[in-house]
Each structure stands twice: as structure tokens, then as C-alpha cells.
């Protein structure tokens, strides 16, 4: 099974980005998930949820876009 996933949470209101991330990480269990976001709040929330679930978080941030690479 291909465990590389892209989760596009751009433009979604709280708590959907964090909820999507939580459910996706829980379902996959391990692998790599790229999360695309468009605001700092969602970025912090998803990072916190992922870290809490034991995933490694790499942030690639610019002013316009936020990309988190989650690995486990």
C-alpha cells in the first residue's frame, strides 16, 4: 500500500485541518503525509496533533503557503 499521502487542508475552518490530520495519521499508522495549509493557526494545530501522536514534523513555511511533512 502506498503510504505517501497529500492532505490538502487549505481554506478549511478550525478544527477541520487538525481533525483531518488526526484521522489520517491514525488510519495510516506510519508512512509519510504531506499536509498543505494556508494559515499559521492550522499549521500549529496540525503540528501539535501530529507530534502528540508520535509523528515527526518537518515544516516548510513561507508567507503564502505552509507545508508540513509528517513521518513515522
Amino acid at each position: 500500500m502506498d503510504k505517501n499521502r497529500i492532505l490538502d487542508a487549505r481554506g478549511l475552518s478550525c478544527p477541520q485541518p487538525a481533525l483531518m490530520a488526526k484521522e489520517t495519521l491514525s488510519r495510516l499508522g506510519s508512512g509519510t503525509v504531506e499536509v498543505l495549509l494556508d494559515n499559521a493557526t492550522a499549521c500549529v494545530n496540525v503540528s501539535r496533533i501530529a507530534t502528540k501522536a508520535g509523528w515527526n514534523v518537518r515544516e516548510e513555511l513561507s508567507e503564502e503557503s505552509f507545508r508540513l511533512v509528517l513521518t513515522k
Binding site: 502506498d2 497529500i6 492532505l7 490538502d8 478544527p15 481533525l19 483531518m20 493557526t41 494545530n45
Partner: protein, 379 residues
């Protein structure tokens, strides 16, 4: 700047913001605001609706600088930290309707979620039923979120759209400062188009620049920390995430301590300021409020903060609240110290039914947003 950002996005950010609200709100009461109403986004939006004539209850008319300050404080923080981003397009008309019913629910209880916690910190035990309703409403909203409820994605929009809400606030600031009185009443005295209560809660307020200054500080802090009283309950129940919940705890603790220090702590059910004692409809009003706020993505304070950051959908929600205040008083739905109005409960039930219909019908299945490898996403 990055150290500050790191601090505010740590668990200390919401705690500091909650503590600031908990301390400064009772101080505003000491300086003239109504009891346990140092800051209330619902009550103060209702007062603004009265001041501009959208409702004409003579005791609740004043352009509250606190609302203005929250938006402008957020705007300043968002601009300073490069987070100001005009965006729109996530089901605005649904958010407008949610704003209307959220306000009706809040005015049956007599307070927004911030005020519910401030009332608790002031010893008004009627708030407990309201907070129970709030928890139930958030829990109901979570059921819909778990089943894929979504108002859809917003999109970047024109700069002008992001500036409308801050510009509206500057306009309100001009109106409260200039207080234009173009009309004449039956006795020939100047009146309107901006109305100011001479008795009742609308006449009780701290000095304009103090209210504005306090709200600017809170707006700034809330933008940096993402403080949200609905998010605090929602994230705790939905994901076991305590990040925002500690902000609520800090708010109540700080309000309790500050009210004690200022001699304003008055425990009981009867004769509490701007409160009614009917537990059932304190609960019911906030079930509606909690549900509507959860579906809209945040408490009314948070909606103001988002609108200051350029979120035009959050601005539409607040405009819904403003219109909802007009409806709540013109249709005699809002409670008074005597209890719920004869029509309030029916409005609450209607509002819950509408929100449930919205919760059941607006969906974007979460699984559909998870795509395969980059090659298939077109990203």
C-alpha cells in the same frame, strides 16, 4: 518576533490571553461597564445594533468600543506578524444565518461564551446552566464534524474584502466619537441616527478610550494566541487537546480573583446583574449558541479576531449576529431579568432545528480530501 510567536503558540499564549480577559473585564466593570459584563461580544453587538437603530430597546443602545478594539487589535497583530490575509467564500450566507441564531441563543441566556465564563467568575451561578448548554451545543456540533460537516473552503480574495470589517469598525469609532444627532424627538430634543441609552445597561460604560485600549490589547493577544472559548471545549472533547481549554481555565480563575480583589464577587442565583434565573432556558439558549458557534468554527470573540485578520466569512458571521440582535429584540425573543420572553423558547427550538439541518446537509467527506501520491493530485 519569532520568539514572541513561539511563546504565543505555546500553551502559555491562550493562558495569558484568558488571564488578560479575566483580569481586564472585571476592571472595566469597576470603571463603569455593567455587572459581569466587562466584555461580552453578544451583549455589546446587541448594544451596537441598538445604537444604530436596528433594535429600539432604549436601555441597550451604545456603540461599544470593546467590539471595535477587538477587531482593530487583531488587525494590528496580523499586520505586524504578516498574518493578515484577505479570504472569503466559505458558505457566507450559511454563516450569516448561524450568526443570527447564535445571537438569539446568546440573548436568551444573556451572554456570549466569554460572558458565560465571566459570570461564573463573578459568582453568578445561573451561568452554570448556560455553560452546561454550551458544552451540550458544542458536543452536538462535534457529532456533525465527525460525520464530515464542513462549510467548505475559503479562497484568497481581494484586499478590499479583507479591509471591510476593520473599515466598518473605524466608521463605528467615528460615530461613537462624534455622536451625530440629526433627528428630533416629540419634544424637540436631538435624537438619532445614533442612539445612546440614558438608563439601563447601555448607559453603563467605562470611558471610551479605556474600553478601546483594553480591547486593543485583548484583540492583539487573542490574534497571536488563537484564543477561542468554543475551540477550548471543542478540541478537548473532539481530540483530547487541552491547548485552548487552559485559556478558559485561566479566564475563570483570573476573573474570580479579580472580582474578589475588587469587591465585585457576588455568589448566588437571584439578583445577579443582567441575568435571568430560568435554568432550562439558560441551558437551551446556550445549546443553540454552542451549536451555532461550533458549526461556524469559533466563539464570537474569535470571529471578531478572524475578521480583523482579513477573514470576510467571519465578518459575515458577525454581521449575522448584528442582524440577529435586531431580530431578537424586535421580535421579543431576548430574555430580561424577569426571565425568558414568551417567544424565546420557540425561537431557540427553531434555531436548533435550523442548525441541525445545516449540520446534516453541509458536508465534505474528510476521506475525499486525502489524496494519493503527488502525481495524482495535480498539486
Amino acid at each position: 518576533m519569532s520568539a514572541l510567536t513561539h511563546f504565543f503558540t505555546s500553551r502559555w499564549g491562550p493562558i495569558l490571553t484568558g488571564a488578560a480577559v479575566g483580569i481586564l473585564a472585571p476592571v472595566l466593570v469597576k470603571l463603569g461597564n455593567p455587572g459581569n459584563m466587562g466584555i461580552c461580544v453578544a451583549c455589546f453587538t446587541r448594544d451596537i445594533a441598538g445604537a444604530v437603530g436596528l433594535q429600539r430597546v432604549a436601555t441597550v443602545e451604545y456603540i461599544r468600543p470593546e467590539i471595535i478594539g477587538l477587531v482593530l487589535g487583531s488587525l494590528i497583530a496580523a499586520l505586524l506578524f504578516r498574518e493578515w490575509k484577505p479570504r472569503a467564500g466559505s458558505a457566507p450566507v450559511v454563516r450569516f444565518v448561524l450568526g443570527i441564531f447564535a445571537m438569539i441563543g446568546a440573548l436568551v441566556f444573556l451572554g456570549c461564551p466569554w460572558r458565560a465564563w465571566l459570570r461564573l467568575g463573578g459568582g453568578d451561578w445561573n451561568a452554570i446552566a448556560g455553560i452546561g448548554g454550551l458544552v451540550a451545543g458544542v458536543a452536538l456540533g462535534i457529532l456533525f464534524l465527525k460525520q464530515g460537516f464542513s462549510l467548505g473552503r475559503n479562497r484568497p480574495t481581494s484586499t478590499a474584502a479583507g479591509w471591510i470589517m476593520p473599515a466598518l469598525m473605524v466608521g463605528l469609532l467615528a460615530l461613537v466619537s462624534l455622536a451625530p444627532q440629526f433627528g428630533r424627538d416629540a419634544n424637540g430634543n436631538p435624537t438619532g441616527p445614533i442612539f445612546f441609552s440614558t438608563t439601563g445597561p447601555g448607559s453603563q460604560h467605562a470611558a471610551l478610550f479605556i474600553s478601546l485600549g483594553v480591547a486593543l490589547v485583548i484583540g492583539f493577544l487573542a490574534q497571536r494566541s488563537r484564543f477561542c472559548t468554543i475551540g477550548g471545549l471543542r478540541d478537548l472533547m473532539l481530540m483530547g487537546d487541552t491547548f485552548l481549554f487552559y485559556g478558559i481555565v485561566a479566564l475563570v480563575a483570573a476573573a474570580f480573583a479579580t472580582n474578589i480583589a475588587l469587591g465585585q464577587f457576588s455568589p448566588g442565583f437571584d439578583k445577579e446583574p443582567i441575568a435571568q434565573t430560568d435554568a432550562l432556558w439558560n441551558f437551551g439558549g446556550m445549546v443553540l449558541g454552542g451549536l451555532a458557534f461550533t458549526l461556524a468554527g469559533g466563539c464570537p470573540g474569535r470571529q471578531l479576531i478572524l475578521s480583523g485578520e482579513g477573514d470576510a466569512d467571519a465578518a459575515v458571521f458577525w454581521l449575522g449576529m448584528l442582524v440577529g440582535a435586531g431580530i431578537a429584540h424586535n421580535f421579543n425573543l431576548a430574555s430580561s431579568a424577569a426571565g425568558p420572553s414568551p417567544y424565546g423558547p420557540a425561537a431557540v427550538v427553531t434555531g436548533i432545528a435550523v442548525c441541525v439541518a445545516i449540520g446534516l446537509t453541509m458536508r465534505e467527506p474528510i476521506v475525499a480530501a486525502v489524496r494519493g501520491s503527488a502525481a495524482t493530485t495535480g498539486e
